[in-house]
């Protein structure tokens, strides 16, 4: 029900979701070695969980900044701090937030509707892994072309491309479980009741950044 009402309020939501997922596939997915068993597949995200976690960070810049600061505290690579500072210094946490519902074990939203246009237009495919039965998400050659076209033509698309690239950089080499663990470290995330929106943590993360910079 929630979904349908969201779609009534925002008649073009499926296209927006599709665009975001397209860029996540394009910029976060791992390259598919060619020749692949899947025709024309160029990128792949190997589980729905992983896709969901990536989607969550794209949709919640505050939580992403928090994860970036975590990464910075892990490896002390100044780029993570720089990224986090850029996000927190902007209005992204407020204006770019597309709140997500928590369901059982984390941020989860039925992703099929957003994926449907990509599949229908022949930009992506979902195929279960023959052994693990996990659903895998493939970006097809045509999808990559459309993503490039969108990035060139649509100012609205550029942000998603950039953001997905950053999330991809953060997630590289991490499994869905690892990403879930990272996200669970945030109490607003962990403590959100089932079926409720995961709250904004912009204030806490900005404070964390201020404390971090104050202590430097």
């Amino acid at each position: 029900m929630r979904m349908s009402s969201a779609y009534i309020d925002e008649p073009t939501r499926q296209f927006r979701d599709a665009m975001r997922l397209l860029f996540i596939l394009a910029n976060c997915g791992e390259e598919v070695a060619s020749p692949s068993s899947i025709d024309a597949a160029v990128r792949m995200i190997s589980s729905q969980k992983q896709l969901q976690k990536m989607d969550f960070w794209v949709r919640n810049p505050d939580h992403l900044a928090h994860a970036l600061l975590d990464a910075y505290s892990e490896v002390a690579d100044a780029k993570w701090l720089r990224y986090a500072r850029a996000i927190l210094g902007s209005e992204e946490p407020e204006v770019r937030r597309d709140a997500m519902t928590k369901y059982l074990f984390g941020a989860f939203e039925p992703i099929d509707t957003g994926m449907a246009p990509l599949i229908s237009y022949g930009l992506a495919r979902t195929i279960r892994h023959p052994q693990t039965k996990r659903q895998r998400f493939f970006l097809l050659q045509r999808g990559q072309e459309v993503a490039q076209q969108m990035e060139a033509d649509l100012p609205e698309a550029r942000w998603y491309s950039e953001r997905a690239r950053l999330v991809g950089e953060l997630c590289r080499g991490r499994s869905g479980e690892e990403l879930a663990r990272m996200q669970y470290q945030q109490s607003a995330y962990a403590n959100a009741p089932n079926g409720e929106t995961i709250a904004s943590i912009a204030f806490q993360v900005r404070s964390r950044l201020a404390a971090l910079e104050g202590h430097r």
Binding site: E10, P11, T12, R13, Q14, F15, R16, A18, M19, E91, E94, V95, R96, R97, D98, D112, M115, A116, P117, I119, S120, Y121, G122, L123, R125, V146, Q149, M150, D153, L154, P155, E156, A157
Partner: protein, 662 residues
Amino acid sequence: MNALQEPDSAAPGPPIAPFREAVADKAKTTNAMVDLILADVGVHEETATRPADHLTIRRLVFSGTKRASGYEDGPFTFEWKDLGPGLFAALTDGVNQVGKSTILEVLLWAMRGHPRGLKPEVRSWIDTVEVEFTIGADRYCIDFTDFDSIPRGKLVMVAPGPARILRSFEGEEAFETAMGDLMMTRFSLQPIPNVSHTGDETSQYYHAWSAYAASMFIEGSHPAILGDVTVGALWWRMLHLFVGMPYAATHMALRNAVTLEQAQRDGEASARSRQDAFSAEIRRNEAEKKKLENELKALGAPNLNLEEIDALTMEHARLSRDGIQRQSEAAEAERDAQALKAEKDEARAALRRLQEGAASKRIFAGLRPVCCPRCAEVIPESRAIGEDQSGRCAVCDRNTLHDDQDALEDSMAAASARVDALSSAETLARNTATKRHEEAKALERRREETATKLRKADEQASALRTRREIEGKILRIAGALEQLKTLAKASRPATGAGEERLRVLKAAEVIAEARMKSASADLFKDLEGEVVAVAKRFGFRGLETIAIRGNGINLMVSGVPSGYSKQTAGQRLRLRIALVIAMMRMADRSGYGNHPGVLFIDSPGSEELSDDDLVAMVNEIRQVASETPNVQIFLASARGDLLRSAVLTKNIKQPADSGAMF
């Protein structure tokens, strides 16, 4: 009435020289000098004695409200009327604390202007007192209220002639003055001067009506035979004035003046060494005064305006209040702005989503569907052609021509308008917050200014206090200086004029004493005879003679010489009562004498007398009182069982049914 009797016309012996001439002669000086010196000490030639009047209480009324008395609390009125000469008694049967003594105390209180032994809690019950009394042929009424222990009332001369207020008074002192002035004048009594020596200081003070009146109240035995003051032989001086002794007052005043003069001149012996001490002390005080005056100058004039302080205090309170109000308004506007911003951000996000959706749709819509997203079945070419021609979706067959582009644009316009509106609202709230903040800051600045002014005013107030203190010190030092200078002057070696003054006073005292003594020899002989007679009737068995002298009272009891102070309590009580009765009997006989003739005797049976002696004495008192028309005696006793028979029934006041006198 005795007052109307003619005094004996046959004066004994040849007339003596006028007092002033006798003194001038003795002191070897002029009449004028004697006049000057005697006038200075307030002594005048006695030109007349005065026929005896006496005081008689006619009616007593007092009322009020009893609280926690143990007997029927509440309003009460006590009246004792048809009083006159003779013995009156307030009697109870073995019960105390019912008010019999209070009746006597209230009477004395009214007669002398301040209470003697009236218990404060009982006094607090009493709201009004009224006493009618006569002195000779004149009738008076004293009435007063006593709320919060402040007597307010008036002394009225009721008759003869039209009733007129002699004195209105408020406060104990004024009350005492009112009664004292009347009584002292009516009984020709004079303030009894006394000299007090404290350290080097010699000063004079006076016993007045209060002391005389105290001699009317007899409560058991007392070390003094008359009154309740033992020092300074007051009883002796009072006795002289009570019996109307010629030259008694003159002698008393002169003796006092001599003592004072002597004391001052004694001091002159050491005057020279004291001069130096005085000079040093004067210099020290002058230096101190100078120092304080400089301090005062340094302080400057305080500029204290109480109205200004009030205004500043109120202004400060108002500014604080307004400041807090503005701050809370600012905070509220701030909260509004925050909420509006959150709402605006959400609206901006909503607008963004629509814009992103619309933009991405433009790209996606240009793509040709290749498969069913549900089953991945390839869309046949015919479907794609059909969509181009009919507008029906190649995948779901929905009529895409019905897509309302306008509706999308409308919702984007609405979202955009919402962003603008919220943005304006937020700006407005922020401006309000800023404005309120600034107002609060301005108010805070003004409050701080006012507080500073208040602090300054407070400093002024404290400077004023300091100034007052210094001024007070300067005043005290100036007073001390004045006194020191006077003393320094006074302690200069004696002058001839001082010698003459002392000589004249001493001569006058000797003459006055001689004249008093020659007159008093007979008077005292009469008095002593009366005292012995009356005391014996009261049950002082074996009393043969009494010699009343200034240095003591000597008795001869059953052939053995004794003194007043050696007597038992019972004998002393008899003598105390007998002395007053004797005076009144003498006054009645001779027509001269100044005792008011009223006696209050409280609880004579306490421990002084056996039952039989008590009854006998009271019987005699009644008898003597009836024989002596100018005597009025009030008796209070708890031995009603014994004494009822000794007092005329109509003169007895007994407790009411409640058990209390009032």
